[in-house]
Amino acid sequence: MITLYIDTSSSYLYAGIVKDSNLLVEVKADLGHNLSEMALPKISDMFEKAKLKACDINKIIVVNGPGSFTGIRVGLTIAKVFAWSLNIPITTITSLEAMAASVDDSRLLVPIIDARHGYVYAAIYDGDNVVLEPSYIKLEDVYKKISSECIFITNDSIELDYEKWDYTPNILTIVNKYADKKEIHAHKVNPEYLKLTAAEESKLNAS
């Protein structure tokens, strides 16, 4: 079983190829504004390093958000086209699940992504229990939901009242954890923005 992992929900490209519980190759690169330009060349390099062809892949795990709207779509489009054209299973996980899976800690895990204007995308996990589903929420409201010792996980430079762990994904752990997650048809794989567009919001407010 060879799995391709892709996460472009921030300005970083996180990608890796896992073969039977071994991480063959990975990329963790802050591509900034060059994400759309460089994501595929970097993935292509990864295949070359692993001496694999695209058609050797048996499964895709892709992060479908929340995070940068454009970023999510870049990785998701690549993943959808891979899965559809090779006719292989694909499954999605959220960026927040990927973040929590990368930390080995018995405290409450609080992955957060800055969504600006005092808002964050956040979730709270207590082991396998979900205390807070992935949400678009005010940071102060996240604090209110914390009942015991916790650790925040983030890639952003947000001021926090709690201990913070700088996110770097453990791709092997993530892939292993979600290896058996139910697959979706490639056509049905869609981003999880957790937020309406500004146009939809103002229309909703007007009505």
Binding site: P41, F69, R73, K80, V81, F82, W84, T197, A199
Partner: protein, 334 residues
């Protein structure tokens, strides 16, 4: 000569489209998903919504196109993609899909300028003859482009302010027609009379256009009539506007044909669907004895067949990109 099949993908605005074209001239199959009904509620295209729709549709559109053509990607010679200009978030979906297909199947990736696509929509009608003059008229463009050969584009002139299609939509909104209003103006004009006096736009020696003055004149006229409590005759206003706008296009086009010894006049872009414009263009062609080509209605609006057609000529000229190809919201036609 070996047959060449190009798969084209277009996602520059609010249409997700895929097409397979043979030798740049014969459409094998095309699929288009239009978002017009979604954006109608907002009075225009909302970029973030457009991007969200593209990502939902992209693999479905490509699959349906291949099924319709009864072909496999392996049978394709190259993949042509609109890299720009357009809405950046929209462009990126088609681009990433095209790059991924190019990577997986090791197929050449051919970047196509959206306007080159509109011009080459005419190649699906008839072989292009040079020197050729292209009148490019759409929601974002109004220009006269001289072509001495394939992919040799020389812009003679263009709009100094609003594009003609933008102006059509604006006038439509002023008189209360639903988005997209351009086609409705064209339809209304066909039953109206040019009774309202409107200023003639930029009548000079250049090949440039200017429509903002005309647009303002319509807005002011409408405002004045409303204040006076006079009922506006929408059909007459549409006709008055269209007459002046089209005569400006025709005058400059005529001059360019005469000065550059043009063999083939083509019209490209969404406004090429305007019956008012089509009629006048054919008249001009007859008058000057120039071959006129205008795309069928279905090739006037954004579609991937025109991208695959343009992609064929680009591919023949070796205009191939690598996986670093990026989308550009604006770029010169070259």
């Amino acid at each position: 000569m070996k047959d060449i099949y190009i798969l084209g993908i277009e996602s520059s605005c609010d249409e997700t489209s895929c097409s397979i074209v043979l030798n740049g001239t014969k459409e094998i199959a095309t699929t288009i998903s239009s978002q017009i009904d979604i954006h109608k509620e907002y009075g225009g295209v909302v970029p973030e919504i457009a991007s969200r729709e593209h990502v939902k549709n992209i693999t479905i559109i490509i699959e349906e196109c291949l099924e319709k053509a009864k072909m496999d990607i392996k049978d394709i010679d190259a993949i042509a993609i609109t890299y720009g200009p357009g809405l950046i978030g929209s462009l990126l979906i088609g681009l990433e899909a095209a790059k991924t297909l190019s990577f997986i199947y090791n197929k050449p990736l051919v970047p196509v300028h959206h306007i080159a696509g509109h011009i080459y929509a005419n190649s699906l009608e008839k072989e292009m003859q040079f020197p050729l003059l292209a009148l490019v008229v759409s929601g974002g463009h109004t220009e006269l482009v001289l072509m001495s050969d394939h992919y040799s584009f020389e812009k003679l002139g263009g709009t100094l302010d609003d594009a003609i299609g933008e102006c059509y939509d604006k006038v439509a909104r002023v008189i209360g027609l639903e988005y997209p209003g351009g086609p409705k103006i064209d339809k209304l004009a066909s039953i109206g009379n040019p009774t309202y006096k409107l200023p003639v736009p930029l009548n000079d020696d250049s090949y440039n256009f200017s429509f903002s003055g005309l647009k303002s004149a319509v807005i002011n006229l409408n405002h004045k009539l409303e204040q006076r409590g006079e009922e506006i005759n929408k059909a007459d206003l549409a006709k008055s506007f269209q007459t002046v706008a089209i005569s400006s296009l025709i005058n400059k086009t005529k001059k360019a044909i005469q000065n550059y010894n043009i063999k083939n006049l083509i019209v490209a872009g969404g406004v090429a669907a305007s019956k008012g414009l089509r009629d006048e263009i054919f008249k001009l062609g007859e008058e000057l004895n120039v071959d006129v080509t205008i795309p069928q209605m279905k090739y006037c609006t954004d579609n991937a067949a025109m991208i695959a057609a343009a992609g064929y000529y680009a591919y023949k000229l070796g205009r191939i990109a690598d996986l670093k190809l990026n989308s550009k919201s604006s770029d010169k036609l070259s």
